[in-house]
Symmetry: C3
Subunit: 404 residues, 3 copies
């Protein structure tokens, strides 16, 4: 019998590496499809919250957000978020227009056999659009379509990728040791802050707050749509968190799944209890927002947290929901779907929780949150003001009454 | 040229094993996400069947079932279903509270490179909640929310895991050679029996059966919702059956897919024909329930049956649907969505069909079905009586009329 | 230390091959589930377009199409499409009734470790049914249910597999070098042509076209349903295109994903602009059809096109939508959902675009499109006439007014 030659051995190594590469890469593509579904989730959620007269408008906005998001991320955003060597001190960089394969690109070695360039692009592009979708709910029922689309383009093309680069693109936050698995800060604080700014700039819907300080409830149009939206978001979130592991590592991905499932379930229980304490009734809307709160809450640390910690963090996130929603109403921020509560406050809690419950530095997490919040705040105000001064942000009172 | 050293060879073996492990494990996680979607499917199905006044109530119940299911399975159920060595004669065991990694846990060897501990947990947790969801449809429009949630907690935490242990956890049914791939008995007979018991304890909806023996049809509220629900359940069922192979074994999983697709399609044709024979009209509701009947029917043997057998078994399952629905009405069991028909009778047919069409012992299948039925029957009556005596099961006639 | 024996080496090679096989095969099964979801997408899309009185009818048709499609493809279609050696000159062949494993079948070597026989069957069966579903929208609101089901059976069982064999089964078009990744011609021209023929044979809905040449708009019943349908189709299309690679090849599949995402987004922008140019308003329906147009447009060449080309091709496909819809109205082809526009014209554009933008011969693409179109045209007219002469195609004017 002859010996095995090194060539035969190398050939077999290639085969094994290809198999692991295929398993890793398809996991991320499956996750991409799940994250795509979140866009339908957001669309249904928001369509369920708005009044019937505005439902077509909100569906149109959500459809355009994902289309604009994919294209602008392709043309500019991806190059801003992953500039490679073209980075100025870890704060800003640009790899050029269009998604261009790096020189000497080899699929198998590009990311150590975990994913290809195009997988990275399409997975990240689906993420990018979610940040803008968060805004869509908070500004519903009164924003001009052109102003919303303009704001979306700027947010997805410039703001989101720049802060995203700080952490995920290898910028200064990454070097500091900031930890944010699937984007408590990079997605939810970004989207939530932009939502808050635009809701403030727009002012509340007509009739939302009485002159006497009363809060008028504008009831959900369609609770089944809200429920469908939340279930689809939940479905997609397994890909959002599970794909963010950026490989198919069995132990890590499966723990992320368990943590995601348990954190969200605990969020529902938390919100149910808090809403019962406040209103003495079971509240489906609050419970559904509690699920989203729980999901946001465990998004930053789903890879580091234990299931027991996830239950606690999700529970607290859910518990906060009814109170934070009310708090925003007290300061007259009218957010028809509760996006600022779920995403901004939930994202903050989730990012800080990583600093509390794991070995990641709390201070670094805090600094990261503040800087992402501040950058997005300034950027959003700037773009918001410019749009207000040019296109105008808000539809006429008559059109608002009549429906968009 | 030098020879390959045993160390190099071992390293390559590890790489290959990791690749297969990743492929296996991600398959189960994908299946987990599909099974999750079944909960939205059940929610839509039931929301479509109930009267508009009860739609929010049913959505709330379905939302809580999955949340309670995940958490109670984490805290207790998983330890009851997979007690490991802590088993008393194969009938009962408990590994302890909370999902605890076994001593000396190694992800790759835990299940022979097929899945990790956390994959097993989250996949099984999604399953556990489906059993309780089946009940939700049968008791719709008249059960007290607190009584339903109480019953759900007991069913998912204790009853389902105990019978589940008998087969899937390696208990006495497993040792007898009982075969039930994805749970004709372990899920559908359990859920269907509990549904039957609660429907009997509750009694029919007001006005459902006339004093003169007539049956008053309470029409579906929203057939599009029912259709969406069935398609989502169908979608999820590919993961339910395909994931139950517990590995990505290409030949086995793909045959399970073909069998699942063909059995469900044949179920639709069977129900269509039977409903046409009875009512002389095409009946969408019956056809949709025929799909579910076909799916339940091939759930126990999807890995052993041939596609041709699947077509026959699914066809018979569908054919039965209109007759069994009518039979339950004759004995005054009011089940608004037909859950007892689809799940209890369909599950029984499916589990016995394995004993008829394959080499598995028919007697063992029969014994397994009877024991699972009997245990769940007794357990459900016990819990149902206790709840009736304490919280009360049924809302007031006025509240029932008014909507929940 | 001893040397590695050839037996040990072979064993390790088998392990590596199994791992790659599992990764490849599960990718296709995941794609199968995604393609399945397209059937719910079509159902919702069409349910949203028709008038409320016809919604149950359309849901019934879409439910039956997938059931009939799976079964007839199992009994006959698969054997016609993949006849193996039993082919007469590359135009026609039949491997026999029922899906039969070939002699000496070995899962691992059947398709070079890419997929099993049953994976091929179930993936292709899901595809087959989509062709018939396309017809369902175009003939909505006036076709007799029996005539539609009869037509579906003939189309899925005979017409689709025969032309499918020409290319995908290794027939004459394959030998000519025709390229059609996921079926611009084999699915969309087939479905679109059959839809056109049946819409012409049926004539327009009562009241659709005035005697004075006016076109009466019959508004969509439910735009949220249309939006949900398009998002679900979009979701499924990633599996439709990504699975058509027929392996999990990381670079190829990921590029197909990027191309699919970008082409569809560009389609939306194209349709938005064209609709704005025509109607001076943002039109959600046109935008949604633009997404579908973009998806159809990049379906033939998603594996060969660059992302930049995909943006262009999708954009043009979307741009055409409002004009082609209007053109069909001018020639009095009443297609309630725009299926002929999206699928026939979009499919033609997509198949030819491969001949324009890649090294594939334009002439071959043209010949392929013409032959598939001509065959389906003749077949559909033949079946349509026979059904008209026997069952009758159209419901009575009274029943049409009243709803199906």
């Amino acid at each position: 019998m002859e010996n095995i030659t090194p060539e035969q051995f190398e050939e077999l190594r290639k085969l094994s590496e290809s198999a692991l590469f295929a398993a890793n890469n398809t996991w991320l593509l499956n996750a991409t499809v799940l994250v795509f579904m979140m866009h339908l989730g957001f669309a249904m959620l928001e369509a369920g919250f708005v009044q019937p007269k505005n439902i077509i408008n909100i569906l149109f906005k959500n459809t355009m957000v994902i289309c604009i998001g994919l294209l602008s991320y392709y043309f500019i955003g991806f190059g801003l978020m992953y500039p490679g060597d073209a980075s100025a001190g870890g704060f800003f960089g640009f790899a050029g227009f269009g998604a261009n394969l790096p020189d000497g690109y080899d699929p198998l070695t590009y990311a150590e056999g975990k994913y290809t360039y195009w997988t990275e692009f399409i997975f990240q592009a689906m993420f990018a659009a979610t940040a803008a979708t968060i805004v869509s709910g908070a500004v519903a029922e009164r924003i001009k379509l052109s102003a919303f689309l303009g704001f979306t383009i700027f947010l997805v093309t410039f703001s989101y990728p720049i802060t995203g680069f700080w952490h995920w693109g290898g910028g200064w936050l990454a070097k500091l040791g900031f930890h944010d698995l699937a984007g408590c800060a990079m997605i939810h604080i970004v989207g939530g802050t932009a939502a808050l700014v635009m809701a403030v700039l727009l002012g509340p819907r007509v009739g939302r707050y009485g002159a006497d300080g009363s809060i008028n409830v504008i009831p959900e149009n369609n609770l089944p749509f809200v429920a469908v939206g939340v279930f689809l978001l939940w479905f997609g979130w397994f890909g959002f968190n599970g794909g963010s592991v950026l490989s198919a590592d069995p132990e890590l991905v499966s723990k992320v799944f368990a943590v995601t499932g348990l954190g969200s379930a605990a969020g529902a229980i938390g919100a149910l209890i808090a809403a019962y304490a406040r209103f003495k009734t079971y509240d489906l809307t609050m419970t559904l927002n509690g699920i989203l709160g729980g999901l946001v809450g465990i998004t930053a640390g789903a890879d580091l947290l234990s299931p027991a910690q996830a239950v606690f963090i999700g529970f607290v996130a859910g518990l906060m929901v009814p109170y934070v929603v009310h708090m925003f109403d007290l300061i007259r921020v009218d957010d028809p779907v509760g996006a600022t509560t779920v995403h901004l406050v939930g994202g903050l809690w989730g990012a800080l929780a990583v600093g509390i419950f794991t070995e990641v530095s709390f201070l670094v997490q805090l600094v990261g949150c503040i800087c992402v919040f501040a950058f997005t705040l300034v950027f959003s105000f700037l773009i918001g003001y410019i749009l207000q001064a040019t296109l105008g942000l808000r539809v006429s009172a008559e059109k608002e009454k009549q429906g968009l």
